[in-house]
């Protein structure tokens, strides 16, 4: 029976959840249950806290009482140290959830004579475990024994026995150890604790400190192998396993307005994708923050929550400045739809920034997150780190389906597109604002460098900051090339004048044509009246001729009658024919 149970357990490898933020995700559920785990690292890297949080979480969340065997700090010191993290050890100790045991040894007081063993330690651990029915045990820092007790050989044997004994007891154990030169631990404790080894690291790069955690080994379980940044703050330990999230985030096809109607039009008429990452980059004073503010205002009007990280300006300053372009952010702050978070990038390390950001996002649950500007983090040569941090942040925000809006300051001299190349791959929609310098003035131009998943405009637009918001204008594209600002205005006036002139010319031509027509018609009238006059004259003549002719005929008939010829009919017939002709 027992053997079978053990086999079944091995298959799934039961784990003791730590409830340390992020750690359970990278370990696939926690530390190996009923086995010892070695936590090693240099001084001040948070070993004790890690172990303590494991115990406290176990005691409070999983009803697994824990024993803390401390070789360095006294019970009182421990209680005081972790009280700042909100752990009430006193109460937990009273409720028999936690047992603190300080083991005090001082080399100076100890003389060795003959062989000994550590049965006293065993008894104490055993007594503590039995007293509260502990399921978790912490030994912090076991290596103190090596410096305080003589005869290392015995010590090693005894430690080996201790771990065997702990395993038999089935308690989940954390053993902390100082990091050694070229080895995981100073005294080679990893020889004894081989199930799970976690390495904590605290390093300083470019004057900013970075804490990292790595799972060196985890027997019988898959685990994340990267170095994960972690943070110790007022809520305890948190590991940021964001890089392990991968690319399987959900992509929304919902669109949200940019807050600038004509920019929406440029982005195929609807604006950004929800949950996408937007970058606005440009040189100083090109209105990046203003574009962000327009987006913020639009979002707040829709009733969405916005978290605004600002690294250069104070919230008040932003509110004031945006007021000048007709964007009033203050009501949204009051309605707590908009939350500002202003910190200097140099205040603490990147990882710290990242984790505070993530914490704030988790607390505030915004729909949109603004980072203004992201390259404030780049100090010296840490661009790679900044990039890694941003990848993590973007991954995290995408998981949460939060739209991320970054601004980035580029220096005017460089090729602007390549300056931001280190974040380019993260960005879904990239707007570039740039100075268009022409004719002794600078004007702002905006274009969509890329926008994944939508047919966007390829036009460069001039945009101006008016006292009623941001307006996008068409830049002048004509025979003179691309013109902006007053050059555009003057060209437009010139064009207008030309057009007016042309219109006038047309008018004149039309007028003269009219007059020609009038003249022609007048002539027509004269001609007609002349004609009519002539016609009347002619008719008159014809009439007279006719009358004469008739008279002549009648005279002829009369003559004929008088001569008594029979040609009366004949002559009348020829007369008729003549007239017809």
């Amino acid at each position: 029976m027992k053997k079978k149970e053990v086999q079944a357990q091995r298959k799934t490898l039961p784990k003791a959840p730590t409830s340390i933020q992020g750690l359970d995700e990278i370990t696939g559920g926690g530390l190996p249950k009923g086995r010892p785990t070695l936590v090693c690292g240099g001084a001040g890297c948070g070993k004790t806290l890690f172990a303590m949080e494991f115990l406290v979480r176990g005691a409070t969340l999983y009803n697994e009482p824990g024993v803390f065997i401390s070789f360095e700090e006294t019970e009182q010191e421990l209680t005081a140290n972790v009280a700042s993290l909100g752990f009430d050890l006193d109460s937990l100790v009273k409720r028999k959830k936690i047992w603190l045991e300080h083991i005090h040894i001082e080399r100076a007081e100890i003389e060795q004579s003959g062989e000994y063993n550590l049965e006293g330690l065993f008894i104490r651990v055993h007594h503590a475990v039995e007293s509260i029915g502990a399921k978790r045990v912490v030994l912090d820092t076991l290596e103190t024994l090596f410096s305080e007790l003589p005869n290392q050989q015995i010590l090693r044997m005894e430690l080996h026995r201790l771990f065997q004994w702990l395993k038999r007891k089935g308690v989940t154990t954390i053993v902390t150890a100082e990091r050694g030169e070229g080895a995981l631990t100073r005294e080679g404790l990893e020889e004894y604790v081989s199930d799970c080894v976690i390495l904590l690291d605290h390093r300083v790069i470019d004057q900013s400190s970075i804490r990292r955690l790595r799972i060196v080994k985890y027997r019988g379980s898959s685990h994340g192998t990267n170095e994960y940044p972690f943070l110790i703050d007022e809520d305890g330990f948190s590991v940021l396993p964001v890089t392990s999230l991968g690319l399987d985030h959900f992509s929304s096809s919902e669109r949200i307005s940019t807050g600038i109607p004509r920019l929406d039009t440029m982005l195929s008429g609807k604006g950004y994708f929800r949950g996408s990452t937007v970058l606005v980059s440009g040189t100083a004073g090109t209105g990046k923050t203003s574009i962000a503010a327009a987006f913020v205002e639009a979002a707040c009007k829709r009733g969405e929550r916005v978290l605004f990280f600002t690294f250069e300006e104070s919230p008040n300053q932003i509110v004031r400045n945006m007021n000048s372009i007709g964007i009033d952010l203050e009501p949204w702050v009051k309605k707590s739809l908009l939350q500002f978070h202003a910190t200097r990038p140099t205040l603490y390390g990147l990882e710290n920034h990242l984790s505070t950001s993530i914490k704030l996002v988790n607390d505030f649950k915004p729909g949109i997150v603004i980072l203004d500007p992201i390259n404030a983090f780049v100090l010296g040569e840490n661009q790679t780190e900044v990039n890694i941090m941003l990848v993590r942040l973007v991954d995290f925000l995408k998981m949460k389906r939060i739209t991320a809006f970054f601004t980035s300051l580029t220096s005017g001299n460089d090729n602007m597109e390549s300056t931001d190349v280190y974040v380019s791959s993260l960005i879904d929609t990239w707007l570039l604002v740039r100075d268009l310098e022409f004719g002794g003035e600078r004007n702002r131009g905006l274009y969509v460098l890329k926008s994944r998943g939508m047919a966007h405009s390829n036009q460069i637009r001039e945009f101006i900051l008016t006292n009623h918001g941001i307006e996008l204008l068409d830049v002048y594209v004509g025979s003179e090339g691309v013109l902006t600002g007053s050059a555009r205005l003057s060209q437009e006036t010139k064009d207008d004048a030309e057009q007016l002139l042309r219109q006038q010319e047309i008018g004149t031509k039309q007028f003269s044509l009219e007059r020609k027509r009038d003249a022609m018609e007048a002539q027509l009238v004269v001609l007609r009246s002349e004609f009519e006059a002539e016609e009347a004259e002619a008719n008159k003549v014809i009439k007279i001729e006719k009358a004469r002719n008739e008279r002549f005929t009648q005279d002829k008939v009369k003559m004929g009658k008088s001569r008594r010829g029979d040609v009366i009919i004949k002559t009348s017939g020829t007369n008729k024919k003549k007239r017809n002709i």
Binding site: E109, Q112, G114, E115, Y116, G120, L121, I123
Partner: protein, 110 residues
């Protein structure tokens, strides 16, 4: 096992009446059960005390298995541990006390 235990009892009984004497040495031997090391340690310290201190000593044998909390109270880690409670300062000697020389150094008899 039993024999050892009686021994410790008798030694304690023997010593108790004379406890009133100020300069009497008080030694505590912490053991975890009647192991061979414990027995050896008791034999050794008994021998040393007889030689060096005559009757002027008292040995308490404390079995941590029976009173585990004492290990905590008296900060015992290794067994066997011999603690010189009096005269002050307190001195600890760990091991089965087979090295007489170091026991004497430890107890500051010499």
């Amino acid at each position: 096992m039993k024999i050892k235990h009686e021994k410790s009892e008798t030694s304690r009984q023997k010593e108790q009446p004379v406890k009133a004497r100020r300069d009497k040495w008080v030694l505590c031997l912490y053991v975890a059960g009647q192991t061979s090391k414990a027995v050896t340690a008791f034999k050794n310290i008994k021998l040393i005390c007889e030689e060096q201190l005559k009757d002027n000593y008292q040995i308490k044998v404390i079995d941590l298995l029976k009173n585990p909390h004492i290990a905590h109270d008296d900060q015992i880690l290794a067994v066997p541990t011999l603690v010189r409670k009096f005269p002050l300062p307190v001195r600890n000697i760990i091991g089965d006390l087979s090295n007489t020389e170091s026991v004497l150094v430890g107890l500051n008899i010499r």
